[in-house]
Symmetry: C2
Subunit: 337 residues, 2 copies
């Protein structure tokens, strides 16, 4: 299996991302095709006693798409970027999956332009795994690929999220919930109401509406479905809530001597807490619904996060995710339409 890694568009230097690719190759026995500046990649490989050859190869790309570039214009304009050249190589089957910590909008737009969509899937969606207090992760889809959705799009997110949860996360019968502001069917906006109507008639294991305040603690479902705007707000608000507690804890602890000793004794707890609640360490977010395995890593990804994202890609390839998604609703006992 060969994974294509875009080492140019992330927040951290390419050498850090190459390091993650090397760790993944060593850890999972995959080949890595690095897209980017060959000189930089060779130098980073040499640092770890590696060189380009069979296990590590290089796809030359002279341009870089920045984090703040308008996605569509960047993808159309920079044909020699690591992002676009990488996606073209994926389409030409030079690799089995594509991993990028770059501009999310550009990865989405580039994937749609270059790979196209899977038949019958109207819109791709980004699926992110979030940690729960009990230890098991759950999936949220979409967290930002589509910000203006129709009910059918949400139904497709549910289908893809369920398929991913079943075939990649190995949850036998994943429970699907719609993110809403109350649990009754009549709650929420029109979009959710109509999506609810589609899902309750369909073959997926749909359990109804779920609310955001207890997803991480009670984990009522395996897959949370929402439009990309709401999903992204949800994600950042959770991050904000977690961040506020730790910032305030630090501030309050520094004001008291006894508290400083207490905090010292609690250090291992705080370290584990951070690890458990970090979704960065969980690797990448698959972009589901495009005709190829594409994994979006966090822009701030370090080597460990990149290794995690490559692991996500590897498991998707091993699980034949693309073929499973192509079976569509038929793979869930639906009529295939």
């Amino acid at each position: 299996m060969r994974i294509l890694l875009d080492v140019m568009g992330g927040d951290l230097p390419p050498a850090e991302l190459v390091k993650g690719g090397i760790a993944a190759a060593r850890g999972y026995g995959v080949e890595i095709l690095f897209a980017g500046d060959p000189a930089v990649i060779r130098e980073a490989l040499a640092l770890h006693g590696e060189r380009d050859g069979e296990r590590f190869s290089i796809l030359e790309a002279s341009e870089v798409i920045g984090m703040d570039e308008p996605p569509v214009r960047a993808v159309r304009g920079k044909r020699n970027s690591s992002l676009v050249r990488g996606l073209v190589a994926l389409r030409e089957a030079e690799a089995d999956a594509f991993v990028s910590p770059g501009n999310t909008g550009a990865v989405v737009a580039g994937s749609i332009f270059t790979l196209g969509r899977i038949a019958k899937i109207l819109r791709p969606g980004i699926a992110v795994t979030l940690p729960s207090v009990g230890g098991e992760d759950f999936l949220v889809i979409d967290v930002g690929a589509n910000v203006d959705c129709a009910p059918e799009h949400l139904a497709h997110f549910a289908l893809m999220g369920a398929t991913y949860a079943r075939d990649v996360l190995k949850i036998e019968r994943p429970r699907i919930g719609l993110l809403n502001i109350g649990t009754e069917k009549a709650k929420g906006n029109k979009l959710n109401y109509h999506a609810f109507e589609i899902l309750e008639r369909g073959p997926l294991p749909f359990v109804g509406n779920v609310e955001g305040h207890h997803l991480l603690t009670d984990r009522p479902v395996d897959v949370v479905v929402c439009d990309g705007f709401v999903g992204n707000v949800f994600l950042k608000a959770v991050e904000g809530g977690v961040g506020a507690v730790s910032a305030l804890l630090k501030k309050l602890i520094n004001r008291r001597g006894a508290a400083r000793l207490g905090a010292f004794l609690l250090r291992p707890v705080f370290v584990e807490l951070r690890e458990r609640l970090s979704y960065q360490g969980r690797g990448g977010a698959p972009l589901l619904g495009v005709d190829g395995i594409v994994v979006i890593a966090h822009g701030r990804s370090d080597a460990a996060a990149i290794q995690g994202a490559i692991d996500v890609a590897r498991r998707a390839v091993e699980s034949c995710l693309k073929e499973r998604l192509e079976q569509g609703i038929g793979g869930w006992g639906g009529d295939g339409n």
Copy 2:
């Protein structure tokens, strides 16, 4: 000043809510008109050595609107509920403000039916104050009154939130931000884009888009504007993030002896943390845009939370909030349209 308190529709028993009303009367020198079952209210008053008369009076209401009743049907069907009778009494100027910990949807629907809207405000919005790490609160509007919004509605939320922040929270020139999933104007959905266009041309101190992950830590604006669905998701996601940290902390601490000692030393920190991040203790959320001062308290409000909500109502009355809102955009140097 007389505040009308609905003591029937909350999660806690009426006696607890009456206790909050008594505390508010004693603390702020306001009169309280309790809406509900007279026998229950008299008994609760007697418990605290009070009786109905001038300072405490009773508005008899024989029906109760439950938390899960469909709002519009409940408001239309239960004319003798504490909620509807209370709103009618507010309209008839028997009180200066109305406070209820009942069914939020029913308070919103009942307020619109009974009081009507302030001229030129298309939709009322619920404004909630959230804590920041630095200590100063900020406002989020709307958090659930309107789940399907047009750009003009968001512009009105901005106007009302800014007015509330200036005249009640006494922030001289409140900075307004639109809740979005990126800071550039082009980010996000169509609703936000068009709301951005209206706001950047208007007279309010609009600073642009803001993202949810740093609102509580950096507090980039005083007023965050969003549609009610997104605002409610945001609120519950923050609550979920905060809740996940504390649940996980407890779980991890219980597994380690040294950590238990550390946690003991940190107890005052944890207590202050909970107080600082609780928005329940911050009292009620004003429903802005209806023709009267209406404050929605949390359903789980205890006496202290009810006292807080009455304080919110009192400050709104003292600040002539209704008159300020009626001045509309004209009060901000706009052309009044």
